[in-house]
Amino acid sequence: MIQLFRKERMWRTHELKRSYDVVIIGAGVHGLATAYYLGKDHGITNVAVLEKNYLGAGNSGRNTAIIRANYRTPEGVPFFARSLELYEDLSRELEWNLLFNQCGHLTLAHTDSSVDGLRVRAETNQIMGVDSRVIYPEEIQKLVPALDMSDRPRLPVMAALYHPPGGIIRHDAVVWGYARACDRMGIEIHPYTEATAISIDSSASRNNANRAPSIDAPEGKITGVETTGGSVATETVVNCAAGWATTVSRMAGVALPIVTQPLQACVSEPLKPFLNKVIVSANLHVYISQTDRGDCVMGAEVDPLQSYSMLGTLPTLEQMATYTLELFPQLHNVSVLRQWAGICDMTPDFSPIIGAVDGLEGYHLDVGWGTYGFKAGPVAGKYLAERIATGETPELIEPFRLSRFREEALVGEKAAAAVSH
């Protein structure tokens, strides 16, 4: 019917080879970013990225696309700030317009204690060089004229944490941009190829025979990965499987302190532009932004129950509707078109787990991304790639090691990671 003459490929398909230097499981933003920086920073291109679905079918295409760095802990703030920095330069670097709109990000406080919390966050942010400050109703109203600041809402807006460099990005484009850049370096992307087992040589001798046996993982060495496309030999495996992180990790015999919970969002029909800030209310458990198309994207808190379900539920939809209308009552006649969920790998301290694993040589984690993984894709990829290439753990990701849970060195990020995406 129609003939086309397109030649250049975005990424090519390959036969799965029998051996790779590195095999990455999961081709979302984290897996692809890790592959990209392995190639770009360290010249390691004999890499396969395995994906059981199409590229970006998981959380990379299900999040609400918010980028920000106004976290709370001394470990988290510089980490996410670096990510924001990488995102700011990413369109140029990948030669790919990611439509990063740094429109500004407002976290609302509706109670005295929340205002206190925001003040602490603002202080921490400023000390660590992140542009973030507390503003009050008059300024909030100027920035967001559509926001209902009257006495009518059950929770009046008392203050907000204003984070000007925060914003929204086209999430799918980030995935494709990284994928294309990986392909250009010769890194292989294998969609529709599921990892089914990880092979380990338990008899492999360790560098340091005097070392006490690990309690994080079975002693041994990675030797390969079984996939639906055949088996592959490799000495390095990276787990970037998000909601399925524990399932993949079980293949390597590594237990993770992670549970999987869905996080829901919904989108409305398109409206004329009325909102050019990302609005978050931690008290009301909702966040709202308006896309270039005009749709309102609304997100909720994670589901209270563990599940791998990617469908929406009524209570969450009710909450999103209620709280959205609390902030923007003029939207009452706006229709919701779709509701969906991504499945989040939640850790107890709301911080990720990145790096190598004691005991099991060659196994690397980039998991536990909970509800804040998308905004950290570049930084996690870049520094995990450094860990893989050099064998040294970079300072920036060192606090997020797996062993922190038994060392009582948690990075409690809940104050700034929950809800306020």
Binding site: M1, I2, L4, R6, K7, E8, R9, M10, W11, R12, T13, Y54, L55, G56, A57, G61, E95, W96, N97, L99, T111, S113, R154, L155, D172, R180, I189, P191, Y192, S268, E269, P270, N283, D292, R293, L305, S307, Y308, S309, M310, L311, G312, T313, L314, L317, E318, M320, A321, T322, T324, L325, H332, N333, V334, S335, V336, L337, R338, Q339, W340
Partner: protein, 510 residues
């Protein structure tokens, strides 16, 4: 939460038959139907393709409620049989425990009327959600006056609110012919019935009657474009096509008309079954993706049954409502038996009566016919026609996998990307195409573009349309205003004192 013994979704022929049959065998039945649909939802062409040719009377909800009730005598019969009939209530979601969610307190349905939403539980569910209109676009199809046959039927017989005066019907099957008959009976001029094939395939005597009444049949023709203004379609241009579905130049005829009614086919409304994770298969002869069911209309999911067009639609069913009615009864007997309202001997006896009445003509696959139509429309109207009207994505942009045009952005990199290149990355996945182009992401929730998109993807990639993966459905399967989703169980007092929930008790009590 309320638990209903048997819920029937959809009060069409199959649904009412199921409800009445079950009520007579002593089952407590709740029959839910979303009609009357609000005028604003009709404006979005949800759930049928109404085409914005309707009267203001639609906004009078009480009048519409009355018309919905009186237009369907079976509803009265159902009420007399003791069925709890809930009109004006849509089912926008269906949830149950699966491998991925295990903590639901039994299977549930999300319901909404024009004011609020709520959830009910059920023991048995019969989905009789009918079928929606198949839409292929053409130049000018975004003008008011382009509608589907089911949409036209609903506006004519149920709402008496169709304002068309001169109608052109695409498709000379029974669907098109009965639409023409209904339109004529309601005083609408049917100026042409057009079909891309060389002969009408609908019932001969019906066609003959229509021709006697002055309706012109244009076989081996297609629609080149519809021309109009802000008021909608004013005329259409037809053109002859050859065996390769190519237009023959110089054969264009312009006909004055204000409505184009697409009666090429219908597509089963399987959204709820998809949400319930019922096994769904592609069966061309039944209109595409349809639920698997056994001879008693049981789906692959326990306690979920199907009946009527949703179980698969073919053109023969238009003239023979007995098929849908019998399916409704069979589903109902299976449900009643599993609820213990009937013993197996009774069920067996009743089934054999119904089977004797059933007699579905063996249907043929429809996608070749659909493909011919689409091919002729593409050949005559070109690629620069919206495939997805809501998101304004043209056929060319869909095939080239172009980013949405509202971004006003064309990049070198993206223009190197096309369906051909994606094909080499793996099978064409409508889920990914949807992300790339935004096809199917608009207000009609993909109802007007799914089949066209699948057929275009199949044609362009040289694969069989049956191999194009199923594009998933997401709740809510009706666009619902935020104010309806707002929970209504909160009292005024709770609301006023809401802020206190955030203040420690010690401070309140001093």
């Amino acid at each position: 939460m309320e638990t209903k013994s048997l819920v029937v979704v959809g009060a069409g022929v199959a649904g009412t038959a199921a409800a009445i049959e079950a009520a007579r065998s002593g089952v407590q039945v709740t029959l839910i139907d979303e009609n009357p649909i609000s005028a604003s939802m009709m404006g979005l062409d949800v759930p049928l393709y109404y085409g914005n040719r309707f009267a203001h009377s639609l906004e009078d909800r009480d009048l519409m409620l009355q018309r919905v009730f009186t237009s369907n005598p079976a509803l009265h019969e159902a009420e007399s049989a003791g069925v709890d009939v809930q009109l004006g209530t849509c089912v926008w979601g269906a949830f149950r425990n699966t491998e991925t969610s295990r903590k639901l307190d039994g299977p549930q349905l999300g319901l909404a009327d024009d004011k609020q939403s709520w959830v009910i539980k059920y023991d048995r569910l019969i989905v009789a959600a009918g079928a929606r209109d198949l839409n292929f676009s053409f130049a000018g199809s975004d003008l008011a006056g382009t509608m589907g046959a089911n949409g036209a039927h609903a506006l004519l017989s149920r709402y008496q609110a169709l304002t068309s005066r001169r109608m052109v019907i695409l498709g000379a099957g029974n669907l098109g012919l009965t639409t023409a008959r209904l339109a004529l009976n309601n005083g609408i001029d049917v100026v042409a019935i057009v079909d891309v094939s060389s002969s009408a395939y609908g019932d001969e005597s019906l066609m003959h009657e229509l021709q006697q009444d002055g309706v012109d049949l244009y076989t081996s023709h297609t629609l080149k474009e519809a021309i109009g203004s802000a008021d909608g379609i004013e005329s259409v241009v037809l053109v002859t096509v050859n065996e390769d579905n190519e237009p023959v130049s110089g054969t264009e005829k312009t006909i004055a008309a204000d409505t184009v009614c697409l009666a090429i086919g219908l597509v089963p409304n399987i959204e709820l079954l998809s949400l319930l994770d019922c096994k769904i298969n592609f069966k061309s002869e039944l209109g595409g993706y349809v639920p698997d069911h056994d001879e008693w209309m049981r789906t692959s999911v326990e306690n979920v049954f199907v009946a009527g067009d949703v179980a698969g639609f073919h053109d023969g069913m238009v003239l023979n409502p007995e098929i849908a009615r019998n399916q409704g009864c069979l589903a109902s007997i299976a449900a009643a038996e599993s609820l213990g309202a009937m013993d197996s001997a009774q069920a067996h006896a009743r089934r054999s009566e119904i089977q004797a009445e059933a007699g579905a003509a063996a249907p043929a696959e429809v996608h070749t016919y659909w493909k011919n139509w689409l091919q002729s429309l593409v050949n005559a109207g070109g690629l620069d026609v919206f495939a997805c009207e809501c998101e304004e994505v043209t056929r060319a942009e869909l095939i080239d996998l172009q980013p949405p045009r509202y971004l006003e952005w064309r990049s070198e990199q993206m223009s190197s990307r096309s369906l051909r290149t994606q094909l080499q990355d793996g099978p064409v996945d409508p889920g990914q195409v949807r992300r790339l182009t935004r096809v199917g992401m608009g207000e009609c929730q993909g109802r007007r573009c799914r089949e066209q998109a699948s057929l275009l993807l199949a044609a362009e990639s040289g694969t069989d349309v049956a191999k194009v993966p199923f594009m998933s459905y997401r709740p809510p399967v009706r666009p619902l205003p935020l104010s309806i989703m707002w929970p209504h169980d909160e009292t005024e007092e709770m609301r006023e004192n809401w802020v206190k929930w955030f203040i420690p008790v010690s401070r309140v009590l001093g």
